[in-house]
Subunit: 326 residues, 2 copies
């Protein structure tokens, strides 16, 4: 058994191993998960959580790394949660991409953690907030959450940050593609990276048009800025940080930070509850109930709703028949 | 109330309105959902379900459209389920992209349906299999499921098809990006589209290398083919169909089709059961329980697991405390 209070104390002192250990306990749904969570809860709320999302190839890792450098120059402790798909094929490839991050590997003021998108019980929606909690409680001033894929789960995670940054690049991941990926409307700050390439101005213009930035807004509404960067050379990074700080100040002023965090907590609690219920269903795999039901469904002998009724009854008792479509 | 048996009979005659109505009933979790599902179950299993996935911009819509044409030439009835992110910003943009599909709009042998990725109770994982069921029962010989985003949910849907096609294009969405998106290992057939562009051969080579196609495999193992296409001109489409048919024959020969469909049904049933349980939790929003819990969690006064316990108890009764991390 781990000495949780000791581990938490070490994490708050900035010891990376303690942070790593806590995240592992949390990710792995260890027997001490609840003890860890109870210990962390009163220590959270200090970190500013920034989500970074965008199509593959727009330069998210590079931008994240540039932001880490900028925040470090300002003396902030920084946590990075890189939500990566884990794939037998990509392991090596990803390492190359993480090389820039290696600049920060020896900096005790930076904690970097990669998280696999799959193989997890409740998926990203469950695991990411828990890891953020650990980094928050460990005393990070800023937590950058970088999601690699562009999909429903990834957009959801990015949109649960205090501030969401959407990255685009000229040519690839241009406006229409970003819109297709559904990420356009979640941005509080937009970054057109690789701005030294042809088409950067056009991409920024098109984006401004799609966002309706030219249209009138109610006074006090947040108008998302579009910042052009060349992250590989650190150009524009200070402007991104400035935009983030402005958004944070705007949220403070309008009570939006509290509101967002309450929404995030609601989703977190709901996801944990659903995961707990899902686990009970998974336990039914043990007694081959699901397997037998699935074979009948696949053969057309049973419809999936009737089969699901059986599973739900196994979890909650038959008196709690589902009201789905009733 | 809808006359479900009549609607199902009309759908099987190929009347697009009846199919649309059934999908709407299914998507909207209508009160007649269960009746619809029970009516459809014995009619399913005839369709060959092909998933198409790939990074934004590789030409998925164009490739899907070319496949529709090819299957139509062979006299097959085709269903298309395009899983699109619904976004207030993208509505117009997407239409442009769907123009090619309009070629098929007046063809009674083709049924095209778009599905939004968000706003759904149980998300894509819940809704997509139900829509596939309707298309299957309506007598489609082939169902093409095209996912727009590249993320956890989208990859999961694509990987649940009978055969999964992964699309790439030279330059954008090259090997490393596809690997990052986690889609590389799910393909049964790989397509390098836009093969008239520079770098197509390099992309195909790199892909073959990443997939380890040069390595020895056990006899009888499926070796995913890499097909080069220029979908906009219909080039290579026949070769894709041929590859699909080969994969289907291989699955038949090795019992893989039955196995995959049983796995798909298991996941479908599990998702419906979890969704039913999730709905009960959502009902608790009504009595502001979740909201009050979330505010305490956001303030650090309560940890999210303790809060989730409360929710779960509200759904299943307190005697069924969650065993999460217990």
């Amino acid at each position: 058994m781990v000495d949780v209070p000791e581990l938490v104390a070490q994490a708050r002192e900035g010891r990376p191993r303690a942070v790593a250990r806590l995240i592992s306990l949390v990710e792995g749904a260890s027997p001490q998960l609840r003890e860890v969570m109870a210990a962390l809860a009163p220590l959270t709320g200090g970190a500013y959580v920034v989500g970074l999302t965008g199509s593959p190839g727009v330069g998210k890792s590079t931008s994240t790394s540039a932001l880490v450098s900028a925040y470090r120059r300002a003396g902030r402790r920084v946590g990075v949660l890189a939500v990566d798909p884990s794939s037998p094929f990509s392991g090596g490839a990803l390492l190359g991409d993480r090389v820039r991050m290696a600049d920060h590997a020896s900096d005790p003021g930076v904690y970097i953690r990669s998280m696999a998108t799959r193989g997890h019980l409740g998926g990203l929606a469950w695991a990411a907030p828990q890891a953020i909690r650990v980094l928050d409680a460990a005393g990070c001033d800023v937590i950058l959450v970088e999601t690699v894929g562009v999909g429903q789960s990834e957009v959801e995670i990015a949109s649960q940050a205090d501030t969401s940054v959407v990255l685009l690049a000229p040519g690839m991941g241009d406006g229409i593609q970003a819109a297709k990926a559904g990420i356009l409307e979640i941005g509080d700050v937009y970054v057109v990276n690789k701005a030294d390439r042809d088409g950067a101005d056009a991409t920024a213009r098109e984006l401004g048009h799609m966002l309706g930035l030219g249209e009138a807004r109610a006074p006090g509404d947040w108008r998302p800025p579009i910042v052009k960067t060349v992250a590989a050379r650190g150009e524009g990074t200070d402007e991104v940080v400035e935009a983030l700080e402005k958004h944070r100040a705007w949220m403070d002023e309008h009570g939006e930070l509290t509101a967002r965090r309450a929404r995030r907590a609601a989703r977190e609690v709901e996801t944990i509850a659903v995961t707990a219920l899902r686990e009970r269903i998974a336990d039914l795999r043990g007694d081959v109930r699901l397997e037998a039901l699935a074979a009948r469904v696949a053969a057309g002998a049973l419809d999936p709703y009737a089969a699901a009724d059986d599973l739900v009854a196994g979890v909650t008792g038959p008196e709690q028949a589902p009201r789905h479509g009733a």
